[in-house]
Amino acid sequence: MVAVNLEHRPRRVLTGNAAAAYAVRLCRPDVVSLYPITPQTEVIEQLEKFYADGSLDCEMVTVEGENSAQNVVCGASMAGSRVFTATSSWGLAFMYDAMLQTAGYRAPVVMVNVNREPPGIQSVCSGQQDMIATRDSGWIQVIAESVQEILDLTIMAYRLAEDYEVQLPVMVNYDGYYLSFLAESIEIPTQTDVDAFLGVLKQQPQRPVLEPGCERGVGAHGLGAGFVELRRKHMAAMERSKQKFDAIDTDFGESCGRHYYGQIETYRTDDADIVLVTSGSAAGTARTVIDAKRQAGIKAGLVKIRMYRPFPKERLALALKGKKAIGVLDRSVAFGWDCGPMHQETSALAAKIGCMPILGFIDGLANMDITKPHIERMVDDIQNAALGNDFREVTWVASGE
């Protein structure tokens, strides 16, 4: 994160969940519908408080579950509303069919997903597996690292989703527990700042919406060639959204005070021999370790993935090209690939970045802390591989491997 505009703005100590709710209120949604689930519940609590005290002027739809919540916001979005929903883990799984519908309709829904391990092994704890399980749903997926970034990224999500050249739903992810309940002092953009930042959308052409009395339907078509055409358009929109996200991020810096380098943030990678790639709250710990390793003479760098879908392959390849070795830290697994999903996808860049060891680390599942010693060990392993020594392709760090 870089502060680019230091004029005074109000500061508050907020949890990650409250920050998401504050961001949503600043974006003035028309329809909000969500169902409580740990660790997201505080988001709905805070929004209901805003609604009750009159500071959030929207239609608040109470539903009996997440599937309905997603259907409500999808329908409202097709009628032209700005909408919001939020969930986590089991809730995300329960709305999966509606998520696919939302993406297929190209409804610019913004949803917060507080990362939590999904159903299967009973757990109420952090992990990115829920988000990973929906990676091919056609949604844009972005990941925040800090409470400030949760607020900023949620505001940016509306600009991205509703851009005429994008028209896609956006899922804002952040680590449950580590960020959802972490309280940090953050700066809140003024309503004027956010109105101006999102006001750009009003200068764009109007997307098609359902209107009473208008003979228009959505979603009923798509047989044969029409289906292929819509898929191609969806894929193309995903590709366009990458550069859009970079531009929106820069613009956010100018109007609201901070920017985050768009799709990925590179930290000390330019002259680095080895690079660690990760995302979310682990990036903060990793940055501290990279600084310490630099002092010890190891030329290490860090890449933080902020946009996971679409995958930032061009910018990632540029940052990793010609390095001696790379490590990828995943907070989830890619079943059937015996590695983490970000490791799997970074490895797919081999043809573009050249031949080098790419090590995978699986850590931080189910609230197992990704500690400084864990990351120090990862950096040492990558450095050893860079020196030409044998290396383990995938390491489950918390298992003591």
Binding site: Q167, G217, L230, K233, A236
Partner: protein, 106 residues
């Protein structure tokens, strides 16, 4: 306004002018002649009809049209589900096998 030029079949233009699956509901699959799927058709006996409107309310794809003093059934669209006949309190609607109707409209 199309954002990319998608041509699936050479020589043909795009099917959709929008990014998403939007369509004019008076054309395409939204008004397919689904009446051809029907095996039984509803026949309304006007003498028994009290114009209560239950058939009109219950018809799932809204193919019963309310005219000034009676109802008509859009047979181009009616799939013959029979809900109108089941709901009619006076038994004014009968479901008749398509083959038994000799007017050739089915």
């Amino acid at each position: 306004m199309a954002l990319i030029d998608v041509k699936i079949k050479p020589g043909s233009g795009p099917i959709f002018t929008t990014e998403g699956p939007w369509s004019d509901s008076s054309t395409g699959t939204l008004c397919l002649p689904t009446g051809t799927w029907r095996t039984e058709r509803p026949i309304l006996e006007e003498k028994k009809c009290t114009y209560c409107g239950l058939c009109y309310l219950y018809c799932p794809p809204q193919c019963i049209h309310a005219e000034a003093e009676f109802f008509t059934i859009d047979l181009k669209f009616c799939k013959g589900c029979g809900i109108c006949a089941k709901e009619c309190p006076t038994g004014a609607i009968a479901m008749v096998l398509e083959g038994a109707v000799a007017d050739g409209s089915g």
